[in-house]
């Protein structure tokens, strides 16, 4: 058995056991955000482009799935697929608009586009505005698996997460991923080698948008709710924080980062420290940027390379 396979089996086993130790809905939330951060990191970590508007895709997935569950009576997996497709379509359009610009310009443009999306959802009658979309049924998977049970729900989320992980992992280890990395390292060189750089970036953007929407769709099913939080620009900031804390450009980093940030928020919001949540998040940002840029996983990899 190869090392990769062994790690994978350990990971799957952990995912299977986890809900017997921790509260399954919390775990499902962690996995949704981990998937979101994974998708985001495909762009930042492997193509080197910072999107400051990824909330638009997370939210789109959630709203479209929620709408489908409330209004069409389709089964859950179709609703999730529809949400994901909507996110991909939005990603295709926004990607076309933004991809021509680089660095900070790209970040600003994605931010503005996401803001436009935010206001559309705020105004659109079907979203419920500030109240959000409430009471979305979890429905039945394939028409016969009842998802109202938290444990069942968790395992479905775990499978979706594994699927997302497989997509990202496949993408970055494929020739496509190699080209992305080449673009990140030296864009002019990639161009001179004859690659249509913008096309590669655009495809990466669309994949990332689709997976973000998948995360949003899944989250909506778990919490039976879609709200403006998921399209707000703070969410775009949060996913950057998760990726940064965990380790940009590593496969495990976003997962570790998302787990940590979600746990932290969960802990802070119900404790004595509730008042300090924004201040603490701010400090985490500053510290990470100033002296912890490799993130937890990046630092660990460095440590391992040095000592083992």
């Amino acid at each position: 058995m190869s090392k990769v396979n062994r790690n994978l089996i350990i990971a799957i086993a952990l995912l299977a056991i986890a809900p017997f130790v921790l509260y399954p809905v919390f775990l499902a939330k962690v996995l949704c955000f981990a998937l979101f951060a994974l998708a985001f990191n495909l762009l930042l970590g492997y193509a080197g482009i910072l999107s400051f508007g990824h909330a638009a895709f997370l939210g789109t997935g959630g709203y479209i799935t929620g709408w489908a569950m409330l209004n069409t009576g389709m089964s859950t997996e179709l609703a999730i697929l529809l949400g994901t497709a909507a996110g991909a379509a939005l990603g295709a359009i926004y990607g076309k608009l933004a991809i021509k610009r680089e660095g900070i310009y790209f970040a600003m443009i994605t931010l503005a586009l996401a803001q436009l999306t935010f206001f559309l959802y705020l105004q659109a009658p079907f979203t419920g505005g500030e109240n959000g979309m409430q009471g979305i049924p979890r429905g039945e998977l394939f028409g016969f698996i009842d998802l109202t049970n938290n444990l069942t729900m968790y395992y479905v989320v775990a499978l979706i997460f594994l699927f997302g992980y497989a997509v990202v992992s496949r993408a970055i280890h494929s020739p496509f991923g190699q080209v992305l990395k080449a673009i990140r390292e030296n864009e002019p060189r990639a161009i001179s080698l004859g690659y249509d750089v913008n096309k590669y970036k655009w495809v990466a953007f669309v994949i990332s948008a689709a997976l973000s929407a998948l995360a949003g769709s899944t989250k909506t099913i778990v919490f039976q709710l879609a709200s403006l939080t998921d399209v707000h620009w703070h969410m775009s900031g949060e996913v950057i924080l998760m990726t940064l804390v965990g380790g940009v450009g590593t496969l495990m980093g976003p997962i570790v980062g998302a787990s940590l940030i979600v746990t932290m928020q969960n802990y802070l919001s119900t404790g004595e420290m509730g008042n300090y949540i924004h201040i603490i998040m701010g400090f985490v940002f500053v510290i990470c940027v100033l002296s912890f840029r490799n993130g937890i996983v990046g630092q660990w990899n460095k440590f391992k390379a040095k000592n083992f």
């Binding site: 058995m1 396979n5 994978l8 089996i9 799957i12 086993a13 995912l15 299977a16 509260y23 809905v25 919390f26 939330k29 705020l122 419920g128 505005g129 500030e130 109240n131 959000g132 409430q134 009471g135 698996i145 009842d146 109202t148 049970n149 938290n150 444990l151 069942t152 968790y154 395992y155 479905v156 775990a158 499978l159 594994l162 989250k219 919490f223 039976q224 709710l225 709200s227 939080t229 998921d230 928020q265 969960n266 802070l268 919001s269 119900t270 509730g274 008042n275 949540i277 924004h278």
Partner: protein
Amino acid sequence: MKKMLLASLVAAGLSSGAAVAAPAIDGKVKIGVIGDMGGVYADICGPGCVTATEMAIEDFGGKALGKPIEVVSADSQLKPDVASSIVRKWVENEGVDTLGGLVASSVTGAIASVASQNKNIMLISGSASNGFTTKQCSPYIAHWTYNVAALANGTVKTLVSEGKKKWFFITADYNFGHALEGVSTKVIESNGGEVVGGVRAPLSTTDFSSYVLQAQSSGADVVALANAGNDTVNALNAAAEFGLTEMMDIAGLLVFTQNAQAMDPDVAAGMKLTTGFYWDMDDQTREWSKRFKERHGGIPSMAHAGAYSATMHYLAAVEATGTDDPDKVMSWMKSNKPNDFFSRNAYLRADGRMVHDMLLVKIKDKASRKSGDDIYEILNTIPGDTAFNPMLPECEFKY
């Protein structure tokens, strides 16, 4: 191997049994207070609602059914999703019986869809929506302090009957604002007034001057502010600046004491509004408010006072029925009248509406204020049955 593991993961999911929704009837009372700890409603029902609930528990003796009463608190961050996930964890995993605080209708609505399914009692003190006793009603909701209808029936009806017939609305463009405008419009029209115009301003607008200008040219007698918090304060400031206050009456439909304190006294003086509680009403309210201020640092809002009162009545019900079974507790709460410094002539109606006397007050001018906390002059008491709309026949409990 990989496939097998995945298959077993699926199998584990499939075999994990049917849904169970049951409250924790374990003879141990645990109250979860959820409020806005750092956002725009933090002063209205945030840490203060936690303090008020804790005070109630202490005044009750700290114990119920022979065991210490536990309190947990959380920050909803004003996000429906955050709130719903906290509450889900509390009620499914941590044995929380009852939820208190509860500010911002969007958040409370999201919580209600979790809590009501699970039969957890909600003591709503901060939120305004009429929905909790109509569309979203549940046998486990006690909507305590006030609601949109009471605000409209208080302030709007008074002004219309004073002959202020033409109204212009500056409405916060979201559900709460729309609801407040809708209910108020009904009150205006059924009392012989008319709505001559209105604008819907996005939530958290900083500059209202443009809307004030539109109000100015409308020829209305009253400009109603169907918004809350900072929006109300900002709109009022703009109205004063552009001389609107000299031409027309301004009616703040939802003003908490904290908002009133944030207004420039020169600008806000004379404004009439409806509140469920004022600290300086009589000795009883002053006594409690003094204790609250010592602990919290500021005077209580009506949401704070309501949170205390609701908790007291709930604990009395638990002690009297000898159980934390939500059905029995709620039925005791509805058949016994609450009576304390907050709940005057009060009773909890079958639909979950706590009907009690509301106050019509006027904001004092600078000269007549004895201290920074001395902000309202009480004009009259609005009897509960006048303030709150009658129970709707269509409220059918879904759960």
